[in-house]
């Protein structure tokens, strides 16, 4: 598969050269492949957000390099191109909405790209439709629920037609419906629109919906692979301060009770299928 993002020995320091210098990223080598849905997880302070902010050149590497479709973020002239390729959605929707009307906010990105008026209108309509937000187009964001605001933020990025959307803990402050809707949108954009998704999250229930996961600890990548493969390494998962998905907890418990449960179960559907096979 084709690499959309590739880092090489990526290292980053906060407050470099001062007494409080912190090494936030420590020679990270990783890649994001075109079309995949990747999750990055790890404790607060493990370096997830710092890494993600390198993806669209909000931060520049201290040492090492990062290439976005072959473009280096260290090269000033590539930045506007890189930001067209990689879109970014943040944790708190209140702090990323610029305008006081939904459709105007979604137009903000395309306007910055200097697109012709007709094209902007088309893209705004398309983004509203793709995220089922047509009914809210004239609303001021402060009348929306947190979940709806986050959907507007995603639509605002989508309207820039990026190849990849990076979501930085987008569900941390949402209620159950908001969380479900944001996750459904992310999955739909990946499957139907072919957009590469990078999801930073603390929820294992979200991680299991991704094709691949990275676990970070102390600024470095500790584990990498499909959720099935990663959750097999139980000692490392615990030391990274993570949880196990509910389905794998139940599957593991049943295995210990002596039932024949197939290995590597991480999703509820798989556990149900497996138990139904036992039953018949």
């Amino acid at each position: 598969m084709h690499k959309l993002i590739e880092t090489n020995g990526l290292t980053y320091y906060y407050r470099k050269g001062t007494r409080d210098e912190v090494k936030a990223l420590d020679s990270v080598n990783m890649a994001v492949y075109k079309g995949e849905m990747l999750s990055i997880t790890g404790q607060n302070g493990s370096g997830k957000s710092t890494l993600a902010r390198h993806f669209n050149a909000l931060l520049k590497p201290g040492q090492g390099s990062i290439l976005i479709k072959g473009l280096s973020t260290a090269n000033k002239d590539s930045i506007s191109e890189i930001r067209k390729i990689i879109g970014m959605v943040f944790q708190n929707p209140d702090n990323q909405l610029v305008s006081s009307i939904v459709e105007e906010d979604i137009a903000f990105g395309p306007e910055n790209l200097g697109l012709p008026q007709a094209e902007i209108i088309d893209r705004v309509d398309w983004a509203l439709e793709t995220l089922n937000l047509e009914d809210l187009r004239r609303e001021p964001p402060h009348n929306l629920s947190e979940g709806q605001k986050q959907q507007v933020a995603i639509a605002g990025v989508l309207a820039m037609k990026p190849e990849c959307i990076v979501l930085d803990e987008p569900t941390a402050h949402l209620d159950p419906r908001g969380r479900r809707e944001v996750m459904e949108s992310a999955i739909r954009l990946n499957r139907e629109e072919g957009i590469t998704i990078v999801l930073l999250t603390h929820f294992m229930s979200e991680v299991v919906h991704c094709d691949r996961m990275l676990v970070m600890e102390g600024g470095a990548i500790k584990m990498e692979g499909s959720p099935e493969k990663v959750f097999r390494q139980s000692a490392e998962i615990k030391s990274a301060g993570l949880d196990f998905p509910v389905a794998s907890q139940v599957a593991e418990g049943l295995r210990r009770e002596g039932f024949k449960i197939k290995p590597d179960i991480v999703r509820t559907e798989e556990l149900i299928d497996c138990l139904c096979q036992l039953k018949s």
Binding site: G87, V98, I101
Partner: protein
Amino acid sequence: MELTKNITLGVYLPGKSSIHNLDPRTKIITATIMIVLLLISRSYAAFALSALFVGFLITLSGVPAGYAMRGLKPMLPVLAIMWVFQLFLFKAPDTTIYFHWWIFEATAAGLHMGNLIILRVLFLFTVTTFLTLTTSVVSLTDGLESLLKPLRAIGIPSQELVMTLVIALRFVLILAEELEKIIKAQMARGVAFDRGNFIQKTRKIFPVFLPLFIGAFKRAEELIVAMDARSYTGGKGRTKMKTLHMGRVDLEAAAAMIVYGGLLIYIIIFTEPMI
């Protein structure tokens, strides 16, 4: 505990009246002319005419008059103090003296000066509040941006200035929310903001500032990063989804403005000023 309740300046009250439908540029120009005329008005007749005109506009817009004036409430004590100062301290030759005590003199000139200042502040406030009540931030800034565009030619970054204004207006509400949260958190730990005299209350406000500024800076930084991530690099090369169009209502508004302005200028020139 509700801080945002009495803020009316910068609040938009959606509606479908012809005032709401005016091109924002018409509204901005009209409001500016009105304010300038009121600042040079010096007679009661001029203010009476303006009160009629503003009253007519408010009725037409469907904004409850009480609400339009609500934001004045917190300003009343300051206005009263200003009035008293003018009444006693403004001196003019050849004026009636109503009252005399020690070095204080309440004179007719002082009374008129006090009234004049209060009327001006009142109208200034009402006109600007009315403008924001009937114009959304988005169209207000579109209007300003369009009006200020010629300034780019002489090197003034008008689009960036307007964007700064948009963000600043957004932050008024964010700051009020943040402030409310912090005050509540401190009340929950035993600070009685609702008790004590003016000085005691003021002293209690100090520990609020540190978390307020930290919170505001944090949010501002997040907003800047988010704008950056969406390719905002200033006004250059930016296009707009919506363009403004003047219509029939704007012509009618211009006509109304000419009639009012003409009458007012007539009054300003030919009637006796109060001072």
